[in-house]
């Protein structure tokens, strides 16, 4: 057995051993992965230069097209859909860099949720505590990394679907900017909300996260000294946060030696605007299918989509107008500070059997509210790392937010705090 083949065989063995407890993988591509590993070793033996991700095993949320496979988007009803004719662009770029695809990953149906509680494919469990949620909608992508099954995965983030599970599972996640050189390709990705959809990597360490970002974007980031003007987002971004979420931001600010505080007026409204845009777009996207096959949907997703399809058009346009003004306001704030810091989730992972969280002391649905802070800032379209904060309790992460074009400074800042031991991924 060749070197990479042996490594991939070990990875596949680990996936088969642990996945029954985690429900992170929906398909494991044993034969294809071993074949790709052998091909990589043959290429290296021929003297070819391996790519920057040579031999790195990776898996993708089951809304990325993989040639020859059905893209389920987490929906049972799509099991009869035709298979994809080619890989999604992001998958193709990772493969071209030498990474080896080993499987597809669980998610909330059609990416509509923050829990990865899937009526058909099961509930993905948090590797740090199997009684708790992994978060969503890219829960399988986060749990696969946190469980040590693979070091790199791909997910999507419309309202927080990378940042929420990355926070709850204690791994690194990246949501790209929606403008500039750091935009990541959506070709071959099952859509949800065209105004807000992004894709990005999860990784067990920051170096792998950055390497994946550079491969996916085709942008080699310049060297940066990591010194940044940093501010903590207060007001809405601390309202309702549990002590562990506030402590995570405290730790980052202390590590950065920063004390600036910044209020972004209108953040609560931005979150509501994102909520309404998402519901309306999702409802419009699925309307024809809902008409004929409503009862084939996950009930929780179906009823959200149907309600979204009923939103008055004037309200949706108002929300879209608000989004434009919000983006301008956030980008203006990012002229005075290089990195903004905010909680990624309002709390650590909730229990699966009691999937409620407290906001203002009131129990609310985790599925709808774990992304409260991620959703608000995501509407502005900046570049964001979800960074796991070092802790010996349940994992939790923070959002590190930068303007499009400032990705080098953003990664350098995170690297400085990782070197200090303030930030770091945790593998269970």
């Amino acid at each position: 057995m060749s070197a990479h083949e042996a490594r991939i065989a070990a990875v596949l063995g680990r996936i088969h051993a642990r996945n029954p407890d985690l429900a992170a993988f929906t398909r494991v591509l044993d034969d294809a992965a071993l074949q790709d590993a052998r091909a990589l070793d043959v290429a290296i033996a021929r003297g070819e230069t391996p790519g920057p991700l040579a031999g790195v095993p990776f898996a993708v949320k089951d809304l990325f097209d993989v040639a020859g496979l059905i893209t389920t988007a987490g929906a049972h009803m799509r099991l009869a859909a035709p298979p994809a004719s080619r890989d999604a662009e992001a998958v193709a770029r990772l493969k071209a860099a030498g990474a080896i695809l080993v499987g597809t990953l669980n998610m909330d149906e059609y990416a509509y949720g923050f829990a990865t509680v899937n009526a058909h494919f099961g509930t993905t469990r948090n590797p740090h505590d199997l009684t708790r949620l992994a978060g969503g909608s890219s829960g399988g992508s986060a749990a696969a990394v946190a469980g040590g099954l693979v070091p790199l995965t791909l997910g999507s983030d419309t309202n927080g679907s990378i940042r929420v599970p990355a926070s709850l599972c204690g791994v690194w996640g990246y949501r790209p900017a929606q403008t500039g050189s750091g935009v990541l390709p959506l070709d071959g990705v099952f859509p949800f909300v065209e105004e807000l959809d992004t894709i990005g990597p999860f990784a067990s360490d920051l170096a792998t996260l950055q390497a994946a970002f550079e491969v996916l974007s085709g942008w080699r980031l310049a060297t940066d000294d990591g010194v940044a003007r940093v501010a903590r987002l207060t007001g809405f971004f601390e309202h309702g946060a549990a002590p562990e979420a506030l402590a995570a931001v405290d730790a980052v600010m202390a590590g950065a030696g920063a004390a600036d505080r910044l209020v972004l007026p209108g953040a609560e409204t931005a979150r509501s605007a994102a909520f309404l845009i998402t519901a309306a777009r999702g409802g419009a996207l699925h309307l024809a299918t809902l008409k004929d096959r409503a009862m084939d949907y996950d009930p929780a997703v179906r009823d959200r989509l149907l309600a979204g399809a009923m939103l008055p058009g004037a309200l949706v346009f108002r929300a879209l107008d608000y989004a434009k003004a919000w983006r301008a306001a956030v980008m203006n704030a990012l002229k005075t500070h290089d990195v903004l810091v905010a909680p990624a989730t309002p709390c650590a992972a909730p229990r699966i059997d009691d999937a409620t969280i407290l906001i203002d002391g009131k129990p609310v649905s985790a599925r709808a509210n774990l992304g409260i802070y991620a959703q608000a800032i995501g509407l502005a379209g900046p570049a964001m790392i979800c960074a796991p904060v070092t802790t010996d309790t349940l994992p939790i992460g923070v959002q590190l937010i930068a303007a499009p074009g400032q990705e080098a400074k953003l990664f350098a800042f995170a690297r400085r705090l990782e070197a200090q031991g303030v930030l770091g991924g945790r593998i269970a």
Binding site: L276, A294, D303, Y322, A325
Partner: protein
């Protein structure tokens, strides 16, 4: 709007839209078949209703806002 009558399955049946009632609430109580172009199965109705209530909460937040950081205030208010 007073006197406008609509019919539909419970819990969406509305007989009158009153001018005094919360207009947003009234909009969201319209018969789903009228808006969607088809009648969703009865089993969906409670879930739709619950989600419409949630969306109405967010709609009220949006409609009561001036715009972020005063951006709208200087450019024509509610436009």
């Amino acid at each position: 709007l007073q006197g406008l009558s609509l019919s539909g399955p419970a819990p969406f049946r509305k007989t009158t839209i009153s001018a005094e009632a919360d207009p947003l609430s009234e909009i969201f109580n319209l018969r789903p078949g009228l808006i969607l172009g088809f009648e969703p199965p009865q089993a969906c109705h409670d879930g739709i209703r619950a989600n419409l209530d949630l969306l109405a909460q967010h709609a009220r937040v949006l409609l009561s806002a001036d715009g972020p950081a005063g951006e709208w205030g200087g450019h024509g208010g509610d436009q």
